[in-house]
Amino acid sequence: MSWRDKLAGKVLTEECDDPVVAGALKHFKASVDAWSDATFSRPRMVAKPARHTWRLAASWALGCLLAAGSLAGALYARHVQQESARIEAMKAAIRAAEQKASLERKAAEQPVAATVVSKRQPIAVKSATNEDENLLATVDSDVSRQVPAAMEPLAQMMESDGTN
């Protein structure tokens, strides 16, 4: 029995009072040691790392596909946006043209109404002038009535000056 086994036994008996567990742990250690020794001392084969070129190509292709897809999507979205803007502009132009045409139509209808009004105008102008004259005459008479008695001679003078 080597010093190592003795030490192992000491360690195990300290912690494992169960002889079955202690025995199993001893066998376990011996097994791991044997496996490790056998694999550690074996001649090592260096395998050339396999180069997965197809993986690289596939990942590049996928990357390119994604990039192209996103670019195409962006271009399509821009095109749709431009098209809708163009349609809106056309609609606005049509609306403006319609408005202009309706205004022109209205303008064309207006002279007729104006001629109708001009035919009636002399009568209306005359009546308006009469009304004004009447109003002014009323005001004059009111104002003349309000002239104080002391100012009467002066008023008469003014009237006489006006007549002369």
Partner: protein
């Protein structure tokens, strides 16, 4: 510790001996490191092999462990033994490996880990008879099954104690746990092994 001793010696005899040049110091450090690799490599490999049950992965991680140790060798102050320091690096590498595998579950990873039955085939040819051999093999398979069911931390502590035969304080330093936690993990792991051996699970 050995490194500190060397430097103290050279300082003590500083007046008599030629001052150590950077090249000489590097050469000494390289020689020291080479001897460390030679003496500790089988143990690190065994621990990783038992943890991972994958020969190729254990070899790769052992190499990575010593590569990392070589890079940080000048920062090793000798607070713990070189073995504890190396074991700590190995445990961290193993943790990183499991974390990466969990994160990269979508990646095609080659899993070369062997089964419990295959692992328990390994037994030294002692003076036991055939019946004892079969019994031992069964017990080893049961312990492997119990180990498989342990958490990562419990498994590490269990293997450090019962395969690497490390002291509790050393395990605590290597794993960064307190001694109490190490004892708790060991107790749970042993309970599981005991249950597996009794067939109660």
């Amino acid at each position: 510790m050995r490194r500190m001793g060397t430097s103290t010696k050279s300082m003590a005899a500083g007046t008599a001996v030629k001052p150590m040049t950077a090249d000489v110091a590097e050469e000494i450090a390289a020689r020291e490191f080479a001897s460390i690799v030679e003496s500790h490599r089988p143990q690190i490999f065994r621990f990783l092999l038992a943890s991972l049950r994958d020969v190729d992965l254990a070899e790769t991680l052992t190499q990575e462990c010593f590569l990392k140790a070589h890079r940080n060798w000048k920062h090793f102050r000798g607070d713990s033994t070189a073995m504890t320091w190396l074991m700590r690096i190995a445990i961290n590498l193993q943790k990183d490996h499991w974390r990466n595998r969990r994160l990269q579950f979508w990646r095609h990873t080659q899993a070369n880990a062997i089964g419990v039955d295959e692992a328990s085939e390994w037994l030294p040819n002692g003076e036991r008879n055939a019946e004892q051999q079969i019994l031992a093999r069964e017990q080893v398979a049961q312990v492997w099954k119990a180990v498989e069911g342990l958490s990562e931390r419990q498994r590490t502590v269990f293997l450090l104690r019962y395969v690497e035969e490390r002291e509790l304080s050393e395990i605590a330093r290597a794993t960064g746990l307190s001694e109490g936690t190490v004892k708790a993990h060991l107790s749970r792991a042993l309970g599981r092994v005991r249950a597996e051996l009794r067939g109660t699970r």
